[in-house]
Symmetry: C2
Subunit: 182 residues, 2 copies
C-alpha cells in the first residue's frame, strides 16, 4: 500500500490503456513503442523508464489482471458460485477490450493458459472436490475438467461479443458449478 507517486501511476495507466486500445486495432507485433507513446501522450523514454520492452509491458499487464482476479476471488470466497462468478464477469465486462483481444486467437497465446491456471488454482483453494458427489474421482481430473469448462464459457462469451449480460453468464455458469462441485 506504499503510496505510489502520482506521476508514475498516471503514466503507467495511460501506457496500459494505450496498449489495450492499440491491441484491438492491430497485432502486438505491428505496434511500435512510438505508437504507444503517441497514444498515451507520453514521451517514448517514459515507457523505457518502466518496462524493458513491448513484451515486458504486455506481461506486466497480464500479471496485473491475473492478480486482480486472484484478489477478487479471495474477497468473494464466502459467496456462492453464482455470486462469486458475477464478481468475475463484472470485472471482465469492465475490461472488455483487454480480455476480448487477449482471448482472441492472436492476442497473447500464453494468456489462455495463464488464465486457466488461475481458475484451477482458485478452485483448488476454495473447493474440496474429493467430497460429496465427487468421491472416487482424481482431483486433478475434476479441476482440469471444470476449469476448462469455465474458461471455455468465458472465451465463447467474448468471441461472440458478450451476447448475454454478465449477470446471466454468472448465474448459469455458477449453477453448473454448484450442481457439480458443492
Amino acid at each position: 500500500m506504499s503510496k505510489v507517486d502520482r506521476r508514475i501511476a498516471k503514466s503507467q495507466e495511460a501506457i496500459k490503456n494505450a496498449v489495450t486500445e492499440l491491441m484491438s486495432e492491430k497485432n502486438i507485433d505491428d505496434i511500435t513503442i512510438q505508437d504507444i507513446a503517441d497514444r498515451a501522450n507520453v514521451n517514448r523514454g517514459t515507457i523505457y523508464l518502466h518496462y524493458t520492452d513491448k513484451y515486458d509491458l504486455l506481461d506486466k499487464m497480464i500479471e496485473e489482471h491475473i492478480n486482480n482476479l486472484r484478489v477478487l476471488c479471495r474477497s468473494a470466497s464466502e459467496m456462492t458460485f453464482q455470486e462469486g462468478n458475477y464478481v468475475w464477469f463484472e470485472y471482465f465486462e469492465r475490461h472488455y477490450v483487454f480480455f476480448s483481444t487477449m482471448l482472441a486467437s492472436k492476442g497473447a497465446p500464453s494468456f489462455r493458459s495463464r488464465f486457466l491456471d488461475l481458475v484451477i488454482e482458485e478452485f483448488k483453494a476454495e473447493v474440496d472436490v474429493t467430497k460429496g458427489k465427487n468421491v472416487g474421482f482424481h482431483e486433478d481430473v475434476i479441476l482440469q475438467f471444470f476449469g476448462s469448462a469455465i474458461v471455455g464459457a468465458v472465451e465463447w462469451w467474448f468471441k461472440n461479443g458478450m451476447p448475454l449480460p454478465a449477470r446471466v453468464m454468472a448465474e448459469q455458469t455458477g449453477a453448473l458449478l454448484d450442481r457439480n462441485l458443492e
Copy 2:
C-alpha cells in the same frame, strides 16, 4: 507551435476539464482547490503553478474559449452565415458542459457579455451593415440588435438541453442573418 512541454499541456488540460465537470455539479464558490486537484488527479500545488487562484483559472478558461471562437471565425470568413454558424454550433456542442454552465444564470455572470462582445466584434469585421438593405441605420444599432439575437438563440438552445441538432440551429439562425445582413 509544438513547444509547450507535454507535462504542462496535460496538467492544464486535466485541470480545466476538472473545473468544467465540477461546475456542472456545484457553484464555483463551493468548489475548493482541493476538489479540482482531486478530480484532475494532480497535486494541489500544481494548480498554483499555473493559476493564481480559482477565479484566475476560470478567467483563463473563458479567455481561451472566446479566443478559439475568434479563430474559428477567421477560418470561416469565406463561408455563408449558415456554414459559418455550423462551425460555431459544432464547437458549442463539443464543449457542451462548459457553455451550458457558463450561460446558465449562475455560471459566470460576465461570460454572457464577453460572448456578446465577441459576436459583435466579428460581425463588425465580416459584414458591412451600412450597405444594401440596411442603409440609413446606425451601425451600432444593427450590430447590437443581431448580436443579441444570435446570443439569445444560443442561450435558449443550451438552457433547453439542445433540443435541436447543431446543424438545424446553424441553418435557421444563419438564414435569419442572411436575410437581414447580406
